[in-house]
Assembly symmetry: D2
Homo-oligomer: 144 residues x 4
């Protein structure tokens, strides 16, 4: 399974008075790209709610390389770069959709959370099929 990049048009309300997209929006774009990634795997929002397990966010980081402006379209490629039964890291590469110029890189770290028991869980035990799928995606999309 090849994960397709997520395309996002930068909006006017996302600009700031420097005339660029405010840095906080990239964190929201990462979430959009992650949601899209999950939908491509077949484990989208509805499936997640039904399963009773969430992928909780532990940390986020973003490095800003060049500026995005209103009405630019960015291409966000999300990749699973670390996967263990308890933890997962997703990396993001944001480029301009027209020129390919690098705009930002970032990552988010997640753990699996049992929403009924309200405690961390092993993703490998809780959702073995999803875990196996993540493993295969991580390998196939490596070095993309």
């Amino acid at each position: 399974m090849k994960i397709q990049p997520y395309l996002r048009k930068a909006q006017f309300y996302e600009t700031d008075q420097m005339g660029i997209i405010h840095h906080s929006n990239y964190i929201r774009w990462f979430e959009e790209a992650r949601v899209d990634f999950m939908e491509q795997t077949g484990y989208g929002y509805r499936q997640t709610v039904d399963s009773g397990y969430d992928l909780v966010l532990l940390s986020v980081s973003c490095e800003y390389k060049s500026m995005v402006r209103f009405s630019d379209t960015v291409r966000i490629q999300a990749r699973i770069t670390e996967l263990s039964p308890l933890r997962m890291t997703v990396d993001y590469t944001v480029t301009d959709a027209d020129t390919g110029k690098l705009r930002a890189t970032g990552h988010t770290k997640h753990c699996c959370f049992d929403s009924r028991a309200q405690r961390p869980a092993s993703l490998k035990k809780a959702q073995p099929e999803l875990y196996a799928l993540f493993e295969s995606i991580a390998v196939e999309n490596d070095g993309q």
Copy 2:
């Protein structure tokens, strides 16, 4: 009971590339002022959750009179201008805290909602003390 105005400093991330506060933020400031208003009445968020009734938003409007810029402080005066057992209108006047210059006016309309039964309710029947308080506030703060 005299409701005190709500003071809010405009933030950098609320600006847009015109160099002013983006209009969508005023709608959020109205909510902040409304929450503050409710806390002043003694019926803040915790009390609302415990009561099982919400003040659901039916509509919002805002007229922009002059621009707010980053690091300006605005003063928002919320007032109950219409009150019936089923409906309530709250008006907002946004002025510059330093100069008093009018920045915006607006209003929100609300109904009382029974969050357990998941249907509209009479505020007067559901929360008679709050309703009586709203009536007295509406009169006292009239023409302020």
Copy 3:
């Protein structure tokens, strides 16, 4: 010219703790639909900047009819409903893209602003071709 509706997927970060899309986001969606509308006319952002005239926002209103939830897609139809040399009103109808159920209606009022002279201008005089286009669109999309 038939203006196509704007499709928008509701995002997780737009939800609030009531489990629905927070009302302030609809105001941002109106802006997205308006930007898309302008691009369909051929007078998008780049053309606007080059022209030296802006369509400044004077007021906004929204009536909430039913709730939008995370991962729903909404269809937003923008229409010019009032047009004079100095003023323009744009109406918005937000429906669920799958079911057609009405979610919200709203409108924004605008005037033409000469960004070099920093004062209001007549749209009809400043941009006669755009004004004529708006007139024809307002008629063609009437009663849509």
Copy 4:
């Protein structure tokens, strides 16, 4: 000079459907704390604009330790932890203002940017007094 922590009340519109403050808002709170920090030094927004130099954001990161909920007040302590003529790192510690419980930690990295020449500059050369002040603050607030 002792930098005072920045207090911020979490708003309803900052919640998400998990019933907690959405993680993207912490990045905005860091900015608010940084702006407040700069104002405490006497080099606030107006001074920065007049100087012709900006502190541009290069990267941001945040680790989420425990959840913040609507109407909680957080205390954000910003500290300069790395300072060189060309680069600066600001660390943030977010705690609950009532209980002192740790909510999040994070940092932002910045460089000095000459907004007229549109290129990076040495903060030490461009604004020697501010640089000296940052140096003394970094020492005084160390281990706080």
